[in-house]
Symmetry: C3
Subunit: 360 residues, 3 copies
């Protein structure tokens, strides 16, 4: 009865990771999303007349190496996330985006689950986007389970938020662009949580917001973002700035993150990261390069430095072959490893991806 666009990406990659030292291990996988995130989506737009339109967007993450779906997070809190041990039982959810919008000359109002404003600089100004072994260390440090120092939790709103009300500026305001978002944790106002012997009211847990403003002109693009999400045992502030300059023979990118992650017992922990990298077109492909780092101001100041190099070869607009190599250097007690391997504290880890990305 109406026009729905069915779209998606199926990206499969062989991924290898290796760690060092006591407890270090290797891992081989046929996994997904090494270049772009695998997905299946449905979207459409209705013209309402008078410059107004309504639209919807339902987009599910797909683990095409094994057919499983991906969990979403219903309340921007740890309690609303994935179920431990669900394995092959994890069905499809529209975890990547599920929104309905009204748009007009005044901009766009968007309701539902969507990217947070504080995420975009991390992916837009990263030569590797946020996929695969080469992605910016900032995202690996704050958004990945198991990567944080003791007591520092994964930030549920580092990439997306549920129950959000977002506003986007219209596209025609002289190179300026921007958005703001408010999201709700949806707890009852008499909710409490007890950690140890301390009980606190958690009515605002998972509630927060952020904004992003930018300016793009010719070869130049720069943007700034700030955000705060409330948790009774430690608010999270995620802030960043990023930019790029397109020299034609190469595109230079950089980003800087300055975050503050509250913890239940260690107070607010500051985190700082930066990235510098670039994309170099070569015939039907491009070379990708980046160096990124992230450090937590806690204890022995765990720090991770990452170098990544890769090449993408486009067989068509929709289909590409790619490979990436990356190497991590842990210090200050950090023990991150690449591609699912494990490594001892203060050692190195390296890994590579080789895969195919097909979009439809």
């Amino acid at each position: 009865q109406s026009s729905v666009t069915l779209f998606g990406i199926v990206d499969a990659t062989y991924a290898y990771g290796k760690g060092e030292g006591v407890g270090g291990s290797k891992k081989s996988q046929l996994t997904n999303s090494g270049y772009n995130s695998s997905r299946l989506g449905f979207r459409g737009t209705e013209d309402l007349g008078g410059g107004m339109s309504a639209s919807f967007w339902l987009e599910a993450g797909v683990n095409n190496d094994n057919g499983a779906g991906s969990a979403t997070n219903t309340n921007n809190q740890a309690t609303g996330g994935a179920v431990a041990g669900i394995g092959g039982g994890q069905g499809l959810t529209f975890n990547r985006r599920s929104t309905v919008s009204l748009a007009g000359g005044w901009g766009e109002l968007r309701l539902g689950r969507d990217y947070t404003p504080q995420f975009f600089n991390l992916t837009v100004f990263d030569p590797f986007g946020t996929n695969g072994v080469g992605t910016t260390q900032t995202l690996n440090s704050i958004g990945s389970a198991g990567a944080q120092p003791t007591g520092v939790v994964v930030v549920p709103t580092a990439v997306r938020a549920s129950n959000s009300i977002g506003y986007f500026l219209p596209g025609n305001i002289g190179g300026f662009y921007g958005q703001a978002q408010y999201y709700m944790g949806e707890n009852n106002d008499n909710s409490t949580l007890t950690v140890g012997t301390v009980t606190r009211n958690t009515k605002s847990d998972g509630t927060g917001g952020g904004f992003r403003v930018g300016y793009a002109a010719g070869p130049f693009n720069v943007a700034f973002s700030m955000s705060k999400t409330n948790y009774a045992f430690g608010d999270v502030e995620q802030n960043n700035v990023g930019g790029q300059w397109d020299f034609g023979f190469a595109k230079l990118m950089g980003q800087y993150s300055f975050d503050s992650i509250g913890t239940a017992t260690a107070g607010d922990v500051d985190g700082k990261g930066w990235l510098i990298g670039g994309l170099i077109p070569v015939g039907a492909g491009e070379i990708r390069l980046s160096y990124s780092t992230y450090e937590y101001d806690i204890g022995t100041k765990p720090e991770i430095k990452k170098f990544a190099i890769g090449y993408v070869h486009n067989l068509s607009k929709r289909t590409a072959l790619y490979t990436t190599y990356a190497r991590l250097d842990n210090s200050g007690g950090a023990s991150q490893a690449l591609n699912g391997a494990t490594t001892a504290a203060n050692t190195k880890s390296d890994g590579f991806d080789i895969g195919i990305r097909h979009s439809f």
Copy 2:
């Protein structure tokens, strides 16, 4: 290779609820389905010749505020329902409808998961359908988790049943319409359940059936429905009658429910509810009004009365803005609250929705 219709609804709403007294709380949400139930579906029909056709219908509920799917119930029993604590891990199921049909001049035979006949009067003759803060109190009382008096369980077949065989009368019999349905719980015939010290055979648990007959002519429409579902520890009988008269300037609706819900220890509990309401067209929109009530004949006879008023403004056939306000009045020990709030027994609760419904 064949024509499949992809269809759906994305309905997002800001929902606020407030309770009173000791334990009373407030809650704010960006939730879904305030006007129509959010969904994604696939359906199609094949002409078999000779007036015969085959068709399928697969329709999934979508929680578009957070991207999660909705659980189905596989066996019309508590054991076949949603998993506690699955949160953001709940994937899409075709919980709303998953059927295959054969149809001809003799009517339609439909197999699979579908609405039960006993549900339709509750939604067709309710100005608020069965969505949002204003829906009929009968459905809130018998079909919603946590709303029942102690010992009275949610009825798994109040709205839909799995493993069903349904028959629908053809559409051309002089204003008469009707359907009958049989559904199976699928237990082995030597299954047993022990509650306390009592062990009973549960081979028929979740097995049952119902019918609905009606007559529509000009402005007039009336229908009657009866059903029974077997449970070793308490059969459920759900019965109702409803009707409407379209006066042109307004559509008047009414319904009456008389149910019997068996309990493990308190015997059969009678429940009675009624609703009176109407729809008043106003330009591109309509005003919605209803008063409904439900009472259980158990203990102190918990009773809930609800008043609701709302307005829907159509931006197009597919897109509408809406708002609804409702107020509950608990007595006899009841303590229901609206939109996820909590309230003390015998107090009031109010709440409102404001949202957008977009269909495709």
Copy 3:
């Protein structure tokens, strides 16, 4: 933006099973996939020029009797499979197939979750495919939960494998066809598992591979397959040969399986099965017949013999009515039963399906 094919099957069947003796029970169900497996899928192909193409295939199993999805297995091990007790919470996964392919004159490279080579002879050379009460006893014995003798586990790769890299010969090599597949369990190389007092390294658990080669010419088709999947506590070898001859008035089929399933405590257990059967066209339908058997060389040598007869009536190319009757004969301590019934050891069980298959 591109052409995606949406396809599927909705197959609903009334299934009855009956067992005998102490603990024997009967069961009635409205279930799915009695003739063909119910599914919903998305697929497409892109022409890359020069005889090359890229394609994707995402196919989900659908339990259309109740709307639930089906679990996949993420790592070809017991730990990556379905969650116990998820019931109506099981969402859709692309458990049936989720692949991306590159193809050319040299054949096809396929990555993701797919059928294993060792599965095809079991379904291609079975008059009942692998669906419904009549399917070959080999598959029932090695691929179905609860059917194995004590200590013999379900083989996760009997039908499909995740994390696979597959290669298919091109289609134009004089009647020969073939494929090979390698799949990964994706454990870290220092993973261990302890059973009782024995600890073993499990880095290769769920990793394995297989191949299948065949030859088809005119009425004749024959194929051979071998495979091995590693598990620290018992490798699995699944091997089979099958063939058919189309006499025109009937198609004769046969298959022979010789498997070895390692167990944690009883060493390698050999299993042997065979099937003989046929398809007889009758007007718009066909009669289906088969006799199959499977025996484990363990303890008292449990053996199951199955006889099945059925009829399929095609209402169109897409829609068919069907019925099947089958009877099992257990000996050597076996106690399998049909269609969800239970039966005492060394007794018989029978059951039937009657249903409708609609494809789109």
